[in-house]
Amino acid sequence: MTDVNAALRRTRIGDRETAQGETERAVRRGAWPVAETPAGRTTGWWGMLLFICTEAAMFACFIASYYYLRFSTDGSWPPVSDKLPHRIVPGIGTGVLVLSCLPMFAAVRTSRKSRAVTFPLLVLVTLAGTTFVVLQAVDYMQEYPSSTPSKDAYGSLLFTLTGLHAFHVGIGVLMMLLVLGGQLARGFKKPQAGATRVMAMYWYFLAVLAVAIYITVYLTPYIM
């Protein structure tokens, strides 16, 4: 009972003495990536994934709310006081955004090899995003007097759901400008590949969302 400390040490640290011999050997590894293991996902990649998750959950709730209100409304949808939504202009916008995923994808693929190609591709994507936002604004001008945000729940849904999405595309465009600025300012030697890859995830998400919202807001009133 006297040697509790020794007992404790053995419980906690086991064969401390036997391992002692090896401990003095210093190891210098240069402390950078370990050759044998794959590079792995970055914290930034996971950050973007979770951000997309939480945004996706919000838009899912919003779209669900759209259908909830639509099916708890008796009679026609949109209500008789509103006209059917315009399909063409927002359709073009959605198409442009979806197609811009191609240059985005190409930019990711080239970002490690040929940075001179990446840059113009990203500029193209940014322009596409801007086009989408502008076309959304044009659509509002078409819808306006017939539907307004405060006239009825239909109008509130139409303007807020699409508006929130367009706002996110706007943020995506700003983030894209930051990536482009980084490439210009830091030259193309420093790795901007990680940033491009993470940015692309968000962009694909925005495009998928655009399709879901287009179908919900602009197409289902015609078929249901």
Binding site: D3, V4, A6, A7, L8, R10, T11, R12, I13, G14, D15, R16, A19, T23, A26, V27, R28, R29, G30, A31, W32, P33, V34, T37, A39, G40, T42, T43, G44, W46, G47, L50, F51, C53, T54, A57, M58, C61, F62, S65, Y68, L69, S72, P79, P149, S150, K151, A153, G155, S156, L157, T160, L174, M175, L178, G181, K190, P191, A193, G194
Partner: protein, 668 residues
């Protein structure tokens, strides 16, 4: 003396010897500094100290990104909000002490219970957990900071400012007053003043903080665990925090959406909830409870994690059925998203959905039961040490089981329809919230106080605190069951004599004062420890997880040498601590040159690379300040100024993203 094996093998003989060891720990024969940490500090401590040294003074205070300082701040701030919300409750209990009291007006009573509920749920319980998570998650998984230290500072500042924002409303007498779940249309067209704008804006504001904080904790868990800490070696507390954080990522969006719609309805005349114009009032309830029910577990799961930390240490053995505890935690998190309609049994929904949600609600008691038996089994097979923390853990078990039993009763639709909106419900949710969160948190404070502050608390003082809180709680809340069955509705500011409610109310009010005294006493015990408590050793309780391998309080860099984790109970396996000695000359484990830590793989905890961490910066505070301005301008309806503030915030964010620490790393 026989050779000791780690306690997890758990034969009776081991337990016998181990509890002797535990007893002698009490007799202060413990190390002040663990010899392994001592050896590691001697080799690299000086270099790391120089590299991780923090700016002193006020500037250091506002620019720090150190997870331990932020974690402590979270605890202090949330504790302060708890006090304010508790004072609200005490005023209500005083008003309700006897029939026909008129100490406060009905309008103020409405604000009091709404603020009490809202502040307790959103500004105390969730952030207090974040405080523990912030401080202990990186320590328990063996890393040097959170994955995104600057984001961590940001989530603290936003939490602080949004809490102040809410209480400003109360100070101006326009606090939210439509109950903590703010049902429309009461919260909409019947509340023309600012009250509910404080609610919707304040909660949206806070949600920014909770969301980024949760993502940060998840990613820290995924990418920063010490080498060797595969998923089956992650402590249950970390699982609790991670499940909670995952839940926040998915549960906050419906609440945010609901508050956005409410704000737009109220301020821009939109029609989401306006039944006359095609909107729907029940939509609010769905969205709110789609968040609200998971939120119960968002509050309780980390607290259960605290219990799963306390019980093994003070039972001197590894937790029983570890895989089931983890699976139960995760399962609770998932199932809790499918039961929200049980809060709406009295709304008049279809029978099909009532049946479905009733059944779903019954299933959720299964995982909770599994955890209960794991704790009881651990105590049963171990040798229980009745420390204050352990007493709190046991109070939790008793109280939470009672709350769980009444919870299962609500799952039965006819019963729920009888007692809904009565004091029976008030009794139930205080049993699960106070029992399920406050008691484990107090236990956690006593358990981790040495790590948080470097001081020991008085044992006797702690025991008295646990007894006072337990007794005070039961006296306050148990009679509410009866009073509810006798028909007293909740949320009434007074009641007539002659219904037989008076005596119960008086007892409850006395209980509330006992409880208040208990909290004052606890505060006194902590204050006394800070002022004159004995200095804490590294590992005062002979704990099993990695936080006890750091200093008390830990150094800025936590671990001089990142250890290799060999088991679920790294401090008991004999090899994990030794690895700190073995690797003390390995620069991949010490990383003395710049702010760095290890990044490891998600599942197995294999080393991937060394990762650079940002240092102190004022960016988080600036972003939070501009966000606060935005919210205030929105409240005051000055849209242009709000837009300018958003723009400025965007500029700071751009600056922030521009200076990512990994920019200077070599290519992967």
């Amino acid at each position: 003396m026989t050779q000791l094996t780690p306690p997890r093998t758990g034969t009776d003989a081991d337990i016998e010897t181990l509890s002797t060891v535990a007893d002698s720990l009490e007799a202060s024969t413990r190390y002040d500094v663990l010899p392994e940490r001592g050896a590691a500090e001697a080799t690299v401590g000086a270099a790391l100290d120089a590299e991780w040294e923090e700016e002193p003074g006020l500037w250091g205070f506002i620019t720090t990104v150190n997870h331990k300082r932020i974690g402590r701040r979270y605890l202090v701030t949330a504790g302060f909000f708890f006090m304010l919300a508790g004072i609200n409750a005490l005023v209500m209990r005083t008003q309700l002490a006897g029939p026909n009291n008129s100490i406060i007006s009905p309008e103020i009573y409405d604000q009091l219970f709404t603020m009490h509920g809202t502040m307790m749920i959103f500004f105390f319980a969730t952030p207090f957990n974040s405080g523990f998570g912030n401080f202990f998650l990186p320590l328990m998984i063996g890393t040097r900071d959170m994955a995104f230290p600057r984001l961590n500072a940001l989530s603290y500042w936003i939490f602080l400012f949004s809490g102040i924002f809410m209480f400003t409303g109360e100070a101006m007498r326009v606090a939210p007053d439509a109950g903590w779940f703010a049902y429309v249309p009461l919260s909409n067209e019947y509340s023309p003043q600012l009250n509910l704008d404080f609610y919707s804006l304040g909660l949206l504001f806070l949600a920014v903080s909770s969301t980024v904080g949760a993502m940060n904790l998840v990613i820290t868990f995924l990418k920063m665990r010490a080498p060797g800490m595969s998923l089956n070696r992650v402590p249950p507390f970390v699982w609790g925090i991670v499940t909670q954080s995952f839940m926040l990522v998915f549960a906050l969006p419906p609440l945010d959406l609901a508050n956005l719609m409410l704000f737009l309805d109220r301020r821009l005349g939109m029609r989401f909830f306006d039944t006359a114009k095609g909107g729907d009032a029940v939509l609010w309830q769905h969205l709110f409870w789609l968040f609200g029910h998971p939120d119960v577990y968002i509050i309780v799961l980390p607290a259960m994690g605290i219990v799963s930390s306390i019980i093994p240490t003070f039972s001197r053995r590894s937790i029983l059925a570890y895989p089931y505890v983890v699976l139960a935690t995760v399962a609770t998190g998932i199932i809790s998203f499918g039961v929200w309609v049980h809060h709406m049994f009295a709304v008049g929904l279809s029978d099909v959905s009532l049946t479905f949600f009733s059944a779903a609600t019954l299933t959720i008691s299964v995982p909770a039961g599994i955890q209960m038996f794991a704790w009881l089994g651990t105590m049963w097979r171990g040798r229980v040490v009745l420390s204050p923390a352990m007493l709190y853990a046991m109070s939790f078990i008793i109280t939470f089981v009672i709350g769980g039993v009444t919870g299962v009763m609500f799952a039965v639709v006819p019963f729920d329809q009888q007692v809904t909106d009565s004091y029976f419900v008030v009794a139930h949710f205080h049993y699960v919230l106070f029992g399920g969160a406050v008691m484990p948190m107090l236990g956690g404070l006593f358990y981790w106080w040495p790590k948080l502050t470097g001081r020991m608390t008085s044992h006797k003082g702690g025991v008295i605190s646990a007894v006072l809180i337990f007794v005070g709680f039961q006296v306050t809340f148990f009679p509410m069951h009866i009073q509810g069955l006798l028909g007293m509705p909740r949320r009434i500011y007074t009641y007539p004599a002659g219904y037989g409610w008076g005596t119960y109310n008086l007892i409850e009010t006395i209980g509330a004062y006992v409880l208040a005294f208990g909290f004052l006493w606890t505060l006194f015990v902590f204050a006394q420890s800070l002022l004159s408590g004995p200095v804490a050793p590294d590992d005062p309780w002979g704990g099993n997880t990695l936080e006890w391998a750091t200093g008390s309080p830990p150094k800025a860099y936590n671990f001089p040498v990142i250890p290799t984790v060999h088991s679920l109970n790294p401090l008991w396996d004999g090899r994990t601590l030794q690895s700190m000695v073995d690797h003390r000359h390995d620069d991949q484990r010490t990383m003395t040159e710049v702010h760095r830590t290890l990044r490891t793989s998600e599942l197995d905890g294999r080393i991937e690379r060394v990762m650079s961490m940002p240092g102190e910066t004022v960016q988080p505070l600036l972003v939070a300040a501009f966000l606060t301005m935005t919210v205030c301008f929105l409240l005051a309806d000055i849209m242009l100024a709000a837009a300018v503030a958003v723009g400025l915030m965007g500029l700071v964010i751009a600056w922030w993203m521009w200076n990512r620490p990994e920019i200077d790393e070599p290519a992967p």
